[in-house]
Each structure stands twice: as C-alpha cells, then as structure tokens.
Symmetry: C2
Subunit: 216 residues, 2 copies
C-alpha cells in the first residue's frame, strides 16, 4: 500500500489536431475523440522489495546470533562463583557475581535484552514476509535502540569494575583482586566481551533497519 | 530532487468552446471536443513535507541541547580536582579526574561526542532545508547511534566507579572515598548525570531520524 501511494504516474494525452480553418466548414474532423493514454507506473519499488527482503533475512540471522551472545553473557556472569581453597578462622574467601551490584545489573540488563530479542523474532519474521511494513520496522528500530543502550551500559559498567579488579587503583587505594580470584575475573571478562559483541550486533540491527526504512 | 519527483502534477487541457448553435448551422455538433481535465495526485507526500521539516527543526534544537549537556559533562569532569586540607609527611591527599582511567575515558568519549554534535549541525540544517534528503538522514542516524553508544558507555562506566566511590564494596575490600573527597564525588556525579542526559538526547535523535526516514 505504501508503494501504491508513492507510485509515479505518467499520463499522456494525445489530441487530434483541429484545424481552425476546417472548423468553420461543415463539421469536418473536429469530432475525432481525444486519445487518452493513461499509463500508471504504480510501483517502481516493487522490484526493490528484493534487497529489503534480503535485509530482513540478515536482520533475523543477526538476531539469532545476538540471542546466543546475550544469553552467553547472562549465563556466564550469572554462574560466576569462586571459593578460594584457603580460609581463616572467621572468613572464607568466596566471590560471586552478586557481591558487586554492577555485575547484578549486568545479569539483569543482559537477561532483559536477550528476552526482548527472543520476543522480537516473530516481528522479524513478519518483516521478511512483508518487507514494506514500515510501522513494524519503526517499532523494531526504537526497541533495538533502547536494548542497545541497556546492553552497552551493562557491558561498560561491568568492564570498568573488571578493569579495577584486574589492575586496582593506587590513588583510591583499591586493590586488584584478580591475583586471588583468578577464575572469577576470567569468567567476568568473558561475559563482558560477550555483552559488547551483543551491543555491536544491536548497532548493526539499527543500521540495517535504517537502511530498510529509507524510501528508495 | 525527491520533492520534484513526488510533485503533484495537474494537467488541464481546455479547448475552445464551440457554440452548439453555430455548429448546427455548420452541420457538425458531433465534433464538440471534450474538455479534458486530468488531475494527477502523484504524491500525497508533498503536503507531508511539513511534518518532516518540523522533525528536522526539532532535531536541530535537540542537537543544540545535547551539545550543551555534552560539553557540560566534559567540562565538569575535566575540571574535577580536590586537594584535602590535611596532609601527612609523605603524602598529600589529592584527587583528580585522571587518577581513574574510567574518568579519563569519560572525558575523552564525551569530548568526541560533543565534537561530533557540533560538526553534525550543518547537516541538520541541510535536513531542515531539504526534508526529503534520505542519504543525509541515513548518515546522521548511523553516526548518532555510534555516538550514543560511546556516550552511554562512558556514562555507565563512570557511574559504576562513582557508585563504588560513594558506597565502596566490602566484599572486594574497596573503601568508599567520598567521605574524604566529598566535592570530587559530587562533581563527578554531576558529570555522569549530564552524560546520561546527553545519551537520552541521542536516543531521541535516533528515534526522530527513524520517523523522518519512513516513507509516508
């Protein structure tokens, strides 16, 4: 329906040339009816549906990959736990993701983003079937942007903490904890990388949707 | 050129009216040529250019606001410095933004985003003058997405560190430093808030561009 509206209409009207001199005389050829040729090229865009469908399919595949990395990020961070083999009388050295609020936010945000991606799959399929569905693509681009913001916020906040855990900060007197909690740091780093990959995929999804939205 | 293509074509062909009475005399009558009025509304889009221009103007205003908040975030964080009034024999308590790498990244990222926003202003003006320029809008939406990713990454990484500075973390044995460096913490918090506001404006810019990109 969109393509119909924006179609290019070509109307050619050919009229018989009436000779003014002959008009005066008995009736003559003035009565020749106008030949009206109306050619409506309703859709020049129809053949372009091809690449739009291609974009929609790529969008779907990218969503599947983003689900994989998003769930991986959530899962890896959510199962991060390490207990050191030595302990004192009062304290056992134990590290879990929910010791740090930033990592809890990370699990939360990546879980939401993955859930959204799963829910967006049917809409992506509809976009494959109907490459010209503008409203749906608009909805997807807005929600993708919000999900990207969430994912990248979680990833970079966790990255800041992981960096601190690795290197510490002498100015603020914060010690590096990765010497002790080696596995813990490695797992959280992996989760952060997975989350950044998910964010990059969201960025691609937004760019793809923008290309699919444009007119020509 | 988009507007030319989509212009409304009105073809009106009026022929000299032949008087039927005189025709009777002349013998014809059958020769009355049809007055052909062809009105082709090739595009319903022309009147809609109005709201596209409105979006482009709003885009420009939003960019100006985002420049203000982006520069504020950069400036506030970049000038954050506090020296405590007491000192020991070996050490003077001094906090500056570049003590923490995350805050350096913050200044860097927000500076880049503000610079990009200033450079994007002429393009935004072109979008006001030519609301149907698709390619330009596509470029802006892609660059806006990248800039948003950068800003929100900086803001949330800094937020994670500011949170830690305020509350500390007993599990990792990281102490809160905001009891001592009160002004420092307050300034960095303000900068983080300003950066989050900039990110939100970028999100709005992306949504606006997506709306402006769609066909109808």
């Amino acid at each position: 329906m969109d393509s119909e509206k924006s179609g290019e209409a070509t109307i050619t009207i050919q009229e018989p040339k009436t000779d003014p001199k002959r008009k005066g005389i008995a009736g003559s050829g003035a009565g020749a009816p106008a030949a009206v040729v109306v050619t409506t090229k309703a859709t020049q865009q129809q053949p372009r549906g091809g690449w739009k469908k291609g974009i929609a399919i790529f969008d779907f595949v990218l969503r599947l990959c983003a689900i994989a990395t998003g769930l991986a990020a959530t899962g890896i961070m959510g199962t991060t736990e390490q207990t050191l083999p030595f302990f004192t009388q009062f304290f056992q050295f134990h590290a879990k993701y929910n010791d740090l609020p930033t990592f809890m936010f990370f699990v939360f945000a990546n879980g939401i983003a993955s859930g959204y991606l799963v829910l967006s799959l049917p809409f992506s399929i509809i976009c494959i079937v109907r490459p010209h569905a503008v409203g749906l693509r608009l909805l997807l681009i807005i929600l993708d942007t919000v999900a990207m913001a969430l994912t990248i916020a979680a990833a970079s906040a966790a990255a800041a903490i992981v960096y601190l855990a690795h290197n510490g900060n002498s100015n603020a007197n914060w010690n590096a904890i990765c010497q002790q909690f080696n596995d813990f740091c490695q797992q959280t780093s992996t989760a952060v990388v997975a989350s950044f990959i998910t964010s990059a995929m969201f960025l691609f999804l937004i760019v793809l949707s923008a290309f699919a939205l444009r007119k020509n």
